[in-house]
């Protein structure tokens, strides 16, 4: 993996951000009316939409779990979301991300309350400029809330990493491709419980611990926006 030298110039990143600064966040619920719940989430140019269908009956019947609800997730990138057209259909990366997103959401749900049923969470990436999986988790978490599904807490997610020797938050695609390390992170913010953690790169234990704290702090910022959006939603409803 090659790394470009100059991702940080005069203490600022190529898009003008400070190392610990998130890109502009945009969130919106109720974007897919045919779903039980849905939300859109942007980190800068990264656009993720999530929708939730269910809890609903699961077929064929022999897949049903008599004690719990099956949570299924699908992460998918639109063919036009990246520089080189992505051919449609799942690849190995999206298979893995679908799994880790499901596991990032599962601890917040009361799945045992809906035996024999399924909850389906679909995440579509319309534009991919880094941090797509964490954008997808944020959108999915809002979509679950939008669907009125009981949750222990929202799930807030962000990416952090090391570029040109500096620890930064919310990596763009360019930063990610040229990073020394990048880390995806999700947590239940009010419970301070981590539900997603993936890293690749080379880090000392000390750097890693610093990054984890940075990730936690950034998730708390994301969480504030999530809560605000949901509050507005309920205001609208009232």
């Amino acid at each position: 993996m090659k790394t470009r030298e100059k991702l940080i110039v005069d203490g600022k990143r190529l898009d003008g951000r400070l190392p610990e600064q998130l890109r502009t966040i945009e969130m919106k619920t109720g974007v897919v009316t045919r779903a039980n719940g849905s939300a859109l989430m942007k980190f800068g140019n990264t656009i993720a939409i999530a929708s939730v269908h269910g809890p609903r009956a699961l077929f064929p019947r022999h897949l049903q779990e008599s004690e719990t609800c099956l949570l299924r997730c699908r992460y998918n990138m639109a063919p036009f979301s990246v520089d080189e057209r992505k051919s449609p259909g799942p690849d190995r990366r999206s298979v893995e991300l679908s799994k880790v997103i499901r596991l990032a959401l599962e601890p917040t749900l009361f799945l045992e309350d809906f035996p024999r049923a399924t909850i389906d969470v679909y995440v579509e990436i319309l534009q991919a400029d880094g941090s797509t999986r964490v954008a997808g988790i944020n959108a999915a978490s809002l979509a679950l809330a939008d669907a009125g599904i009981p949750m222990r807490d929202l799930v807030a997610a962000c990416s952090v990493g090391k570029i040109s020797g500096t620890l930064v938050v919310d990596l763009t695609a360019d930063e990610d491709n040229n990073s020394e390390a990048d880390l995806a992170f999700a947590m239940l913010p009010s419970k301070k419980k981590i539900t997603l953690l993936q890293m690749d790169g080379i880090l000392t234990k000390e750097e890693l611990n610093k990054l984890l704290k940075l990730a936690k702090d950034s998730c708390e910022k994301v969480y504030e926006t999530q809560k605000k959006v949901l509050k507005e939603k309920y205001k609208r409803v009232e």
Binding site: I49, R85, Y122
Partner: protein
């Protein structure tokens, strides 16, 4: 229940959402929303929402048209957009929709494909139009055809350097010379209606999709649904579509 109500209303000449039979829901067009794509558009017709993105890439031309660019239209009915859509490879509805949109663009000669040659018989531009359904509240075809057309209209051809594509730098616009508009007309009792909602589509089994070019010529037809039509129905439906196509075409910048 809801279906019965929708049907009764239609028989009285009314629609659940109070529209006239020849009236579209509100059409909203947004352009250039996907910066990673060479062209893109989002179209909302009422609550139905479709995003189309255009990517350009190298292709090898067909032997019998060695100087012509290629057009590939693909639609994904992601399960995000509707509880009726399933994961997996495109089903027959998605394939049919993509092929109808493709025919409208291709048969109207909307894109000057002969201007997309890079090296004759060796390398031409392939124009990939990808249709992504965001929300399915009826009339996906008209929305998809419109989103694809608008995306093509704002598509730019990337610069080349040493035979490589410089993504994000552009040389010229994609040469688009016609604006084919697809209008789906449904038979509702003895009347015809346009822009069916999801609920209306479920109960109206006789539909005709008509693609009309700027010069009022028809460039593609597809009967849809499991009910039959008479020759007179078809003639009237084509008249309605030609008329309506002008109105929708006028919404494009």
């Amino acid at each position: 229940m809801e279906e019965l109500y929708t049907l009764e209303l239609i028989e009285k000449g009314k629609r659940v959402d109070k529209r006239r039979f020849d009236e579209f829901r509100k059409v909203e067009i947004k352009e250039g929303i996907i910066k990673k794509a060479e062209g893109s558009a989002s179209v909302r017709i009422g609550e139905t929402e479709v995003t189309a993105g255009v990517k350009l890439d190298f292709g090898k031309p067909f032997p019998d048209s060695p100087e012509e660019g290629m057009l590939i239209v693909n639609a994904e009915f992601t399960p995000l957009a509707s509880p009726d859509f399933e994961s997996g490879p495109p089903g027959e509805d998605a394939v049919e929709l993509a092929r109808i949109v493709d025919r409208g663009i291709r048969e109207s000669n909307c894109i000057e494909l002969e201007k997309l040659c890079i090296a004759p018989a060796e390398k031409v531009w392939s124009v990939f139009v990808d249709i992504h359904i965001i929300n399915h509240q009826g009339n996906l075809l008209d929305a998809s055809a419109l989103a694809s057309l608008v995306a093509l209209l704002n598509t730019k051809i990337p610069k080349l350097e040493d035979d490589k594509i410089l993504r994000g730098e552009f040389e010229r616009n994609l040469p688009v010379v016609f604006k084919p508009i697809n209008i789906t007309v449904c038979k509702a009792g003895n009347s015809l209606l346009v822009d069916p909602s999801f609920e209306e589509e479920k109960i109206l089994g006789a539909k005709l999709s008509v693609c009309v070019r700027d010069d009022d010529r028809v460039c593609a037809l597809q009967k849809q649904g499991n009910k039959e039509l008479s020759l007179e129905d078809i003639e009237k439906m084509i008249d309605v579509a030609i008329e309506k196509s002008k109105e929708i075409r006028s919404l494009i910048r």
